[in-house]
């Protein structure tokens, strides 16, 4: 019998293959009366669970002069509440075996714990408690401000490539908030006050501006009961979604810089691209475009430019469309010699690759892109992260459930069109980072 199925699969065409691949991600979402969206991802491999609470607020929502406040508030969230004081939160979570952390992006701020399922109720209590009850201690605030300042020095300033990316983003995004670094600027950080943090917290930290994800050894019924028990009584607040400015069409920026300590030339090109909230129907074609151009070492960018023409030692293209405002498409490379030659080769390769993209080739690219989806079901942390992020920027679980179907429905023309639009029309910035001493190669 088994052999018969194997034969059937081998003989049948792509259609059956894709149908066999239809995956059940065991996800469901619901809303509490106070507006909190709850996503449950069932994964019963081990008695463990990941709780993530995403607030739909990030660095992009900060006012001018308060850059860095979203991230600094994230730090303050570990300092204590009216009920759970003096950093007991960290201590209690740790003694209960939790991996606990948080992160801030342009779009969202997320708090998460990975822990034994028997400790989930504790984590839910603590997370719900700090949604509204944060204590703003002046002294703690000043200390956290110092820590954030040190963090910026460690993560950005001891890393020339990170500084280069900050300059590129500033040029590309102009007045759009995505142009400011998430950690804030040195000048702003030192000037932030506890009042700024409090104002930001009161405005944005509320159930109706959050998404709770529970991924692991839990069923939907229990999740509903527990979500209601711990988060159900929190009052919603009056939050309005930000209006992000539009980026000038056809904007083209260019930055060439050299920084001390840089030993290796870098080339980066960033395009402003569609997202789940801007031309949402194009995100699938863009995923396929980046998979086709740079999904693996056989992809045209690496094969043509690195293996064959040797104008770069490395090249990579990646697209991210999960964003509240625009998405971005980034090409980064390490050119070997003359960067002008590299640039003109890049344009040629881009167009040559599009010309060579046939229906048959596109079918292969789709297969490759979808082959990895099964792994989403392995570690519960993976889908917790993805579903939370998608929901927090306004997408729905259908994005994941229908992903394979949508990808399979993308036509050759659509992929070619998004590629053409990116290169010709999308706002973009090109950056070159030179080593401190020119290399003769």
């Amino acid at each position: 019998m088994l052999k018969f199925f194997a034969l059937l699969i081998a003989l049948s065409g792509a259609l059956l293959f894709y149908e066999a691949k239809a995956l059940d991600f065991a996800m469901e979402d619901f809303y509490l009366d106070n507006g909190l969206q709850v996503i449950v991802v069932e994964n019963h491999k081990a008695p463990i669970v990941k709780q993530m609470l995403f607030y739909k607020v990030g660095a992009a929502d900060e006012k001018a002069g308060q850059k860095g406040i979203a991230h600094l508030l994230e730090h303050m969230m570990f300092r204590g509440t009216d009920k759970v004081k003096n950093q007991i939160l960290n201590k209690v979570l740790e003694e209960n075996g939790a991996e606990s952390n948080a992160f801030t992006s342009q779009d969202v701020t997320a708090y998460h714990q990975f822990l034994d399922i028997s400790r989930l109720e504790l984590a839910m209590f603590l997370e719900a408690d700090r949604m509204r009850g944060l204590a703003f201690d002046d002294e703690a605030f000043v200390t956290e401000r110092d820590i954030v300042f040190q963090e910026r020095k460690q993560v950005i300033e001891n890393n020339p490539a990170a500084k280069f990316f900050e300059s590129l983003n500033k040029t590309l995004w102009q007045d759009h908030p995505y142009g400011s670094p998430i950690t804030g600027l040195d000048s702003d950080i030192k000037g932030l006050s506890v009042g700024d943090a409090k104002e930001f917290y009161n405005k944005y930290y509320a159930p109706n501006n959050a998404v709770l994800v529970l991924a692991g050894d839990i069923d939907v019924k229990t999740a509903k009961e527990l979500a209601e028990k711990y988060y159900g009584d929190i009052k919603p607040s009056d939050v309005k979604n930000a209006d992000y400015p539009k980026i000038t069409e056809n904007f083209r920026g260019r930055i060439e810089m050299s920084l001390p300590d840089v030993k290796l030339m870098r080339f980066v090109k960033i395009f402003v691209a569609p997202s789940l909230n801007h031309d949402a129907d194009k995100v699938y074609a863009l995923d396929l475009l980046s998979q086709y151009l740079s999904g693996d070492e056989n992809a045209p960018l690496y094969q043509d430019m690195v293996v064959e023409d040797k104008v770069a030692l490395n090249i990579d293209a990646s697209y991210s469309g999960v964003a509240k405002s625009y998405g971005s498409f980034v090409i980064s490379a390490v050119p070997t010699g003359d960067v002008r030659k590299f640039e003109s080769e890049l344009e040629k390769t881009w167009y040559k690759a599009l010309k060579k993209l046939t229906e048959e080739k596109l079918a292969q690219v789709k297969k490759k892109l979808l082959a990895d989806m099964i792994y989403l079901k392995d570690n519960p942390k993976t889908l917790a992260q993805i579903t939370g992020r998608v929901a927090a920027v306004g997408g729905s679980l259908e994005y994941i459930d229908l992903y394979a179907e949508k990808i399979n429905g993308v036509t050759l023309d659509e992929v070619k069109q998004v590629a053409e639009e990116l290169w010709q029309k999308a706002p973009q910035v090109t950056g070159i980072l030179y080593p401190e001493e020119a290399e003769n190669e």
Partner: protein, 468 residues
Amino acid sequence: MSKRPAYLKTKSSSYWVICALLAAIAWVVYGIGNEFELQYLVENSVLKNRNFQGKTEEIFVPSLKTKAYFMEENTNPLVAVSFLFDEAGTAYDEKGKEGLVALTAATIKDGAGEYSAKDLKEQMAINGIKIAFSANKDWFAGTLVTPKENLPQAVDILKNILLRPNFENDYFKLAKAQTIKALKTEKENPQKELQLEFNKKIYQDHPYANNPLGSEETVTALKRQDLKDFVKNNLAKENLYLGIAGDLTKEEAAHLIADIFSELPDKKQAKKLPPLHINWQQDPLQINRKSGQTVVNFAGMGTCRKCEDFYPLYIANYIFGGSGLNSKINMSLREKEGLTYGAYSGLVINDKSNLLAAGFSTTPDNYSKALDMFYEEWQKIAKDGFSEEELEAAKNYLTSSYNLRFASIEGIADMLVMMQKYDLGLDFLQKRNGYVDAVTIQQVNDAAAKYFTKEILRAEIGNFEEGK
């Protein structure tokens, strides 16, 4: 100023005393209540009393002449195989061929048997097959993760890689150029530069001191044949550890590893590392460099995985600097003073050396203060040891985080390999929490006194010239 009658004044002062007392009692009660309430949530959770059902089993395959550990995990149709070839790591690079093992790990998938490099990568991508190689000082290792339905292709590909790698010339030349560039980029990062220089100081003329990537000179000189010889002489049955996890029966797992590994040679080329003697009496290494932060690293003597005081030292380290924000060193340097984004300590376990390492980074203006505080905390550990409460908290963490290790099948397969590499036994997973619970405060404090000594080496990088 106020015309308060005397009796009221008296009453007032005692009133305040009583208030203060009440507040103190309330604070204590509330504190206890708070803790009680929180622990109550765990003890009464509707989700308690669940255990991971996976069982470690031993497989013996006659054609392999080696045992393997296996765990069935059939939640998803996935299979993971983790393999480790011992005594084949970067420290085993011959003189003049430094970088060979790392380059092999980077290029071993560039064509094998009948597969061209391109075919091989195409097949992997289309079938969702993940094969990755890595090396550390002591060993050469890899993992295979694949959807179960594509197991036949995965086996064929991995087998060809291990037995007949081609190291296609174009890719080989490219990988050498990439390695030489990587050697340059390492210098962009002060932390990386410090780590490489510190290794030289700790390990002196022992091969552990080498940069795993080699040097521009040695990498340039490497030939494809060198890599082929390495594979032929070092990937053998006698030094192989295997862990298999996923949607398989024990019998299927036995067939699987027989299919992949039984054609490997029995024996590896005999090669031993020289013994290592660390000189703990050295002045600090100071590297001057313009950077936003000064980075400071420390290294002291540690203990081995199977040594009697492993768990005591593991716990001592955990409390001192291994536990993140709550560790002693982070509480004082970061949470109280805001001097650093993070300070840490950890055990570094290798075949020929065991270290207790630590470090932090801070802006130059905070450097002296942070350094003093670090030494103060370090010495306090040796002198005063830990409290019962601290030990209890550490044990609670270590035992209640136990199930997190089963999050992914690749993680499980890797763990099964480590259990064999360190000879922890088939029943390690059942016994592990017991090992932790059995540690006494006396043992932890003895370990603290023995290892948190003044004999620690220090290396630092930063702007030391400025301000002098």
